[in-house]
Amino acid sequence: MIAEAGHFALVIATILALMAGIVPPVGLKRRDMGLIALADSFAVAQFLMVAIAFAALMHGFIVSDFSLKVVAANSHTAKPMLYKVAGTWGNHEGSLLLWVLILTLFASLVSLFGRNLPLTFRARVLSVQALLSLGFLLFILVTSNPFERLSPAPLEGNGLNPLLQDPGLAFHPPMLYLGYVGLSVAFSFAVAALIEREVTPMWARWVRPWTLAAWIFLTGGIALGSWWAYYELGWGGWWFWDPVENASFMPWLAASALLHSAIVVEKRDALKSWTILLAIVAFSFSLLGTFLVRSGVITSVHAFAVDPTRGIFILGFLALVVGASLTLFAMRAPSLAPGGLFGLVSRESALVLNNILLATFAAVVLIGTLYPLFVEAAGGAQISVGAPFFNYAALVLMSPLIVALGLGPLLAWKRGRLSRAARILLPALIVAAVVFVGTVWATAGGYVMSAFGLALGLWLIVSAKLEILQRIRFFEGPMAGLKRLVRLPRAALGMALAHMGLGVLVLAITISETWTSETLTVLSPGETAMAGGYEFTLDKVEPVAGPNYAAVRGTLSVRRDGELVTVLTPEDRTFGDPVMETTEAAIRPLVTGDLYAVIGEAIGPVAADGRWSLRLYFKPAISGLWLGTLMMMAGGLLSLTDRRARVGAAAAREKAA
């Protein structure tokens, strides 16, 4: 009964979405304030209905109701409760429902927090948002109904892929979807602005917090996925340039560009059509990602079970939404008033350069991801485009970006002076140069690229610091300066923190990629192997039993210069339903890097002192990846709490009144 109630709620939500897409626009045409004002109620009602449906599905997973096809196919009674709950979105149908839940959530948040928006504009935004929900709700009802019943119901479910039974992955999809779908708000704002033929600095001020929120979630979602790959796949890798990873990276790049260009619109009333285009493109990349994951066009380790009908439906929806919005853009962009002029050396120019590089990188990632398909469609033999290509593109496009990121904040609006920026940034330049030369010299020229990476990362960190110190006039009086620090606009602090985070990330990537030490070895209990200056001793290997798996657990003591550093217990787990082996790497983060151990199979007969294959690593600076990402997210959050967002809100209220 509960499932049927959920299904019914979905149908109601669909009808509401349809009405919300039609009624307020009709009201706008007839200037009927009553109809326009309905947009808010529709938005909240849609969210409630989808929330009921989602709760109904989650209930099915929690009580293991195997008469539901989705539950039977993806759950199991022996599964820990966390994964029963997370199982709700660990499959195609449920994850789509989560997508719509977040879409309607954002719409009701716009309705709730957007009280300062002019009513007509809010109504337009909400009706665009409703049409997006309508498409997804129809997709669910027509091709992917999560409430489909099985008769007779099986006694036991098929279980969830053990690789997915993991706390990191339980929260990865919701986080990522908050980011993907959060971009729909920027999209709806852009479409509404095109319809109204007006893009104002106020528009940018409204759209920025939503974009920032989506960007924070997207950053977190991508990082969680990366973290999961790092400890779960057992090879210490954290980014593979897999099509599905790229699908999440492209909207991130577009959203990052949008964040920066929106500032130019807000401050200088320039770059308007470009910013609108970015808002459309960022969400289009989200939709494209959804299509790639669910259509089976591209194979990927992360892809959901493929079904061509679904692929055609999403492609049709994608074509409709993106095609219509880009057509609208092509028609209306020329009529947007051009904005303020600026000199070649100016904050605006630096932000334009930032946008060009980010957008180019997004385009190149798209080309690289789809290039094998182009070649295939042209009739050529298949080719692969993998990490080496994307790393090359990142190097070509991101190095100048990082140089610009250090410089940009020190240039004035309209017309800046390079000499002044150079004077302030001289210490950063010296640090970068010394580290570059020092590294090249110390490695006898063996690691030029690594030296370059170190120099870039340090340049960005030091120049972001210098920018803040210069702002608070630290060198004129440290104490007075620190007092000014607390009064600094949070957006400025947030920017510096996020830029420093990127610098930390660049450093961590460079160091971990260059100086990881790895040892493949076979050990009997009592034997020792070395990796990265640490002694790993295999103490014992024993069988252990988990809630729904059996495992072999190795115990390794790790010593440095004879002193015990830590004890690692990697496991090789064998799950029952479905039968699958996973490696649980044992990881111990130290200040300088991670100790990482993986146990494999027994070599030869397993006697009392059997021999076991082991992979032992010392991976320096890995924590920097997570630290850098957290700094970027924290920077975003800080910026989100800037009073400008609230002041902007007040100003908008006055304007509307």
Partner: protein, 158 residues
């Protein structure tokens, strides 16, 4: 459509040997050669696990290929010869770094091509729409603005 579906289901049925973290691979004695071999492994696709290199894959076939790469390098092949050996058997598909050739020119050139296009676009726009000459009044206003901006720069901001 049905046919396609049937074939897609076959994919799932296509069998692979059990995974294993075997370590019967011995690094090459010459560290320089071993480093070369490892770099090559990063560029060779694990054919049975999508989008991973054989350098970071547990699959049986990935291990076999690692063994072969080391064998051939020990026998004196250079990386290009080993690559040619693999391509002869598995096609260009096996290389994660597609060779620079006619059909990959657009791919490899894409970062630079796009940047050039953007630069050309910006230049054309500047040419096409030269800013109208300023009136005397505007000239004066601009001068005042610039002076104010400069003063702004000298003035400490907080």
């Amino acid at each position: 459509m049905k046919h396609l579906l049937a074939r897609l289901m076959l994919v799932a049925a296509f069998a692979l040997p059990a995974h294993a973290v075997d370590v019967d691979e011995v690094p090459l004695d010459d560290p320089a050669k071993e480093a070369e071999a490892r770099d090559l492994m990063k560029e060779v696709r694990c054919l049975v696990c999508q989008n991973q290199s054989i350098e970071d894959s547990d699959a049986d076939l990935a291990r076999d290929l690692r063994v072969i790469i080391r064998e051939r390098m020990a026998a004196g092949d250079d990386t290009d010869q080993v690559k040619a050996y693999l391509v002869e058997r598995y096609g260009d598909w096996v290389l994660l770094k597609p060779p620079v050739a006619g059909r990959t020119l657009i791919l490899w050139g894409s970062p630079v091509l796009i940047l050039l296009l953007v630069a050309a676009g910006l230049l054309l726009r500047r040419r096409a729409a030269p800013p109208p000459p300023l009136s005397a009044e505007e000239e004066a206003k601009l001068k005042a603005l610039l002076e104010a901006a400069e003063a702004d720069e000298k003035e400490p901001r907080g």
